[in-house]
């Protein structure tokens, strides 16, 4: 009997669960590395992403195939977003108390986050299409992709900028926030959710439930505001 190693290897890497498998393994490795070192650059999402990309390249698999086989995980993002209503509701009293500070921070912070990104990219010489894909970088990717498409950017590129922004927010957020003296968990959470959407919110949930609730609030309000106002602003300016 001849053992067909090649066929076995193919069966392994093209198995419909292969994507889920490598993601789960990569995430747990990343998590334990992060917990052992507490080094900010070992942010679990970033590290697992790099591990998964390395495995895909080594096995010669395309992203399209991986995305399909990891769909079980991605599809749970929807219910997880809905689940953010729970921390929001549990902190509703605190949110009501801080209604005006929230609205003001959302307005000014949201304009700064969006405007500064476009302005800097323009100043650094990026193409117009690149600029329009960058404009919605601070909101959760389903909204960002739709908005980028509406204002003349590339939806897929917008999703990439959204992700880079989120990971950066999770890495740089905590040290920056303590640097500027944002000690209140509401201030930390709102800033994380407003500028770094879901990845920032995941980071905020690590701090405390209150922090996570304000991040969820910042993320949803920023998402809605961007979806409604950004296309309007762009249509006035162009």
């Amino acid at each position: 009997m001849i053992l067909d190693g090649h066929a076995a290897w193919q069966a392994l890497i093209h198995h419909p669960l292969f994507g889920v498998g490598i993601t789960l393994v990569a995430y747990q490795l990343a998590l334990s590395a992060y917990e052992k070192t507490r080094w900010v650059f070992l942010q679990p999402v970033l590290l697992s992403m790099l591990l998964v990309i390395a495995v895909l390249l080594a096995c010669g698999l395309t992203y399209v195939e991986y995305r399909k086989s990891a769909e079980v995980l991605t599809i749970l993002l929807g219910p997880a977003t809905v689940a953010l209503a729970v921390p929001l509701f549990l902190n509703l009293r605190r949110i009501r108390l801080l209604l005006w500070p929230i609205m003001l921070t959302l307005l000014v912070g949201g304009v700064v986050a969006t405007g500064l990104g476009v302005l800097l990219a323009w100043w650094f010489g990026a193409e117009p299409q690149m600029l329009m894909s960058m404009a919605p970088k601070s909101v959760t990717s389903p909204i960002a992709m739709l908005v980028a498409d509406q204002i003349g950017g590339i939806a897929a590129l917008a999703a990439v900028f959204v992700l880079i922004t989120g990971v950066l927010g999770a890495i740089l957020g905590p040290p920056l926030l303590s640097l500027v003296g944002a000690r209140h968990h509401a201030a930390q959470g709102l800033a994380l959710g407003l500028t770094a959407h879901a990845v920032g919110t995941a980071q905020a949930l690590e701090v405390s439930e209150e922090c996570g609730a304000f991040a969820a609030l910042g993320m949803s309000l920023m998402g809605v505001a961007t979806a409604v106002f950004l296309p309007l602003v762009v249509s006035f300016m162009v």
Binding site: G19, P44, S48, V52, I53, R67, L73, T74, G78, P79, A80, V82, L84, A85, V86, P87, L88, F89, W100, P101, L104, T105, G109, L116, G117, L119, L120, A121, W123, F124, A126, E127, M130, P142, A156, A159, F161, L163, I164, T165, G166, L168, L172, G173, L176, L177, A182, R183, A187, A191, A196, A198, V199, T201, A216, S220, G223, V224, V228, P231
Partner: protein
């Protein structure tokens, strides 16, 4: 418990998606689902045990759920490399400045409100 909570979450997301198509096509279904569920909690005045269990279990693994989408960066490596410094510079600087600014502003506003309440 977990299963019942998950069922609620899925049902609310499905309602959200249907409503989105009817009323606000620029918003994603899960965000509308979030708003609907929040409205449901407001009506009932409390969060039931099943939803508490399901949401805390799901949210604990939120970073894991984001990994497959993050891997998508690999398909645009070439486009980003072409404009590397413009893209990365703009993303890093604008994120750092706006995040620090938003956190600082919120902290100032919270402190100011607290001072006013003390005076009043």
């Amino acid at each position: 418990m977990l299963l019942r909570g998950l069922t609620w979450l899925v049902v609310f997301q499905l309602f959200g998606s249907a409503l989105t198509v009817l009323l606000a096509p620029m918003l994603p279904g899960p965000i509308i689902g979030l708003v609907l569920l929040l409205g449901f909690f407001l009506l009932r005045g409390e969060v039931g045990e099943p939803l508490l269990v399901a949401s805390s279990s799901l949210l604990r693994y939120l970073p894991l759920l984001l990994v497959p989408a993050a891997v998508g960066v690999m398909t645009y490596a070439a486009a980003i490399a072409a404009d590397f410094w413009a893209v990365v510079g703009a993303l890093v600087l604008s994120l750092a400045l706006s995040l620090a600014f938003a956190g600082w502003l919120m902290q100032q506003l919270i402190e100011r409100q607290a001072r006013r309440r003390e005076k009043a």
